[in-house]
Assembly symmetry: C2
């Protein structure tokens, strides 16, 4: 594999730098082609590193963006934050991708200000690969924008399709718009107009509308919605999954018989858990920037952070930004 | 219990009149204070009834609204449909509530045209009681409107609070707006403005924003959103639940050991299944009309249809429309 360098914003997650450092050490151990740059307080990071590693270096950043800081405030006052420094490493070519578990809005704002967007793309979107029973599905936008015009949705659809093609190797990913199910109220104006625009575009495999429940039924490879809807749908789904896992846990601890059964069934249940474990599916991509920027969940544990680092390395290896850039022209209206 | 009469639109569901008739026979059997009016084709309904019952009568309707018919078309051409006739029984006081598994949009349109709305309420909303791990939560709107102004959201919040108080006996139900989690993009303009309006209202126990995952965490008793977001969130949640149940099913059928375990664990898992069984939670209320109108899922089975009939009878007994009407005045801006 060709060598890949990823900048890791080590200071912005909820759980502190220890998570980022541990994940980074594991990442360079498992992947010999990977080099990482840990960005943050040198003293703190050096103390956390178990030993020096030739493919793990530290770049000092004296400041950090807080989780609840306004993006505009961060942009004005936090140019020396670990987040901004990590993104600048990507801009300057010292790293090819960046991972941050920090404030999404600030990451978005710094991303747009430090790394160029694709020409013609108005807004970046957050995209995530959602696991389902049979396949996987790229869903965007998951919260970069609280509303979206038909034109925005159309652009998200193009970027999402190109990304799905590059990531999953599908020649013609099935593209759909997320909509409500009832026939008579088929979506708001933006969604209907975006649907009309997409139906005109021969280069996209647009299959029409899908409903919330279709996200897990391998009906589409790319599903597009505005960030408000996407964020709420994703979190509702996570809420249901968490509730069911807790119910299952309760079921197998309620009685002695239940506990024995639970013990016997543990390997079976663990396999199930692994399939939907959020840590394994951590990592959302900022799509629209001419560079790989992966957002990790704010309270990611070590395993989840490792998943996000792996994802950014994969996107770099697949040259996602270059491939999207090359094919964007012919698809833009 | 005081006697209650419910009109059942027997012809509009996906699965035909047999479901409605079977559910109706069970409903009058289990509840001696309940009378039902089955509305539809007399010949078909009589053939389906296993025997005459003193509290089960048939009212003829010569037509039916199709599942994919436009509401405006239904309103113009289907005044003799089982749906319209059932609602007219409520309007005329021959029934106190109505249940239909038909086309939501048409039910909404007929409901608005045949039954008065509360004074001052601009649009009805669809509300459903969502089960969670610890409590239950009234969520609205679930698809009556694809968009909603701040004023609409405010009115939904009032109606939802009054309904939760009446249904659950909570003196001050915790009221929240559904929003995205990230601080910096706290919702679109409508949500922010509605939040401001609700915060001013001393008679409501407004607790602020909640996220999608909070729907199942007993954080609020009433959660308000527009119908587009609500519909997609609900269906995404249902999709996740269906996927997990299928994964569980697979886990316990994959190997002989798994099958034996599954057989041993069946009672435990069945209890879990019952907790989240959609059939037990079938029935959404059209809120805003001065009458009880319950929408059953289109492809409800007999048990689900029975749940919807029970719900409408409960809402009639609790005099939900009268109670909301009485308290609405002081809460409206």
């Amino acid at each position: 594999m060709s060598p890949v360098t990823i900048a890791v914003d080590a200071m912005s997650g909820d759980r502190g730098a220890a998570i980022a450092v541990a994940a980074a050490e594991e990442a360079v151990r498992e992947n010999e082609a990977l080099s990482l740059v840990l960005v943050g307080s040198r003293g703190e990071l050096e103390a956390l590193l178990s030993e020096p590693h030739p493919r793990l270096r530290i770049v000092e950043a004296t400041d950090a963006v807080h989780m609840h800081e306004r993006p505009s405030h961060a942009l004005r006052h936090k140019q020396n934050s670990s987040m901004a420094v990590a993104l600048r490493l990507v801009r300057d070519g010292e790293a090819q991708g960046c991972v941050s578990a920090g404030n999404t809005g600030a990451l978005m704002a710094f991303g747009r200000s430090l790394i160029k967007m694709y020409p013609g793309i108005e807004r970046p979107a957050i995209v995530k690969l959602i696991p389902s029973l049979r396949g996987r599905c790229h869903v965007l936008d998951l919260g970069a924008n609280v509303d979206a015009s038909a034109e925005n949705l159309y652009q998200f659809a193009i970027m999402g399709s190109l990304m799905a093609a590059a990531v999953s190797g599908l020649p013609e990913p099935r593209l759909a718009l997320l909509n409500v199910g009832e026939e008579e109220i088929k979506g708001n104006e933006q969604v209907r107009l975006a649907s009309h625009m997409l139906a005109q575009c021969d280069s996209l495999n647009y299959i029409g509308y899908v409903e919330g429940s279709d996200l897990f039924r391998d009906v589409a490879d790319v599903v597009v919605c505005d960030g408000f809807v996407g964020n709420i749908a994703l979190k509702t789904g996570e809420g249901v999954a968490a509730m069911l896992m807790e119910l299952l846990e309760q079921a197998f601890t309620r009685s002695l018989y239940g506990r024995i059964l639970g013990w016997l069934a543990r390997p079976t249940l663990m396999r199930l858990l692994r399939t939907i474990d959020p840590a394994r599916h951590n990592g959302a991509s900022l799509l629209g920037l001419q560079g790989v920027v992966v957002k990790s969940h704010g309270n990611a544990n070590e395993r989840a952070m490792l998943a996000a680092i792996r994802q950014s390395a994969r996107e770099v290896r697949l040259e996602i930004p270059r491939r999207i850039n090359e094919q964007l022209d012919e698809l833009m209206l």
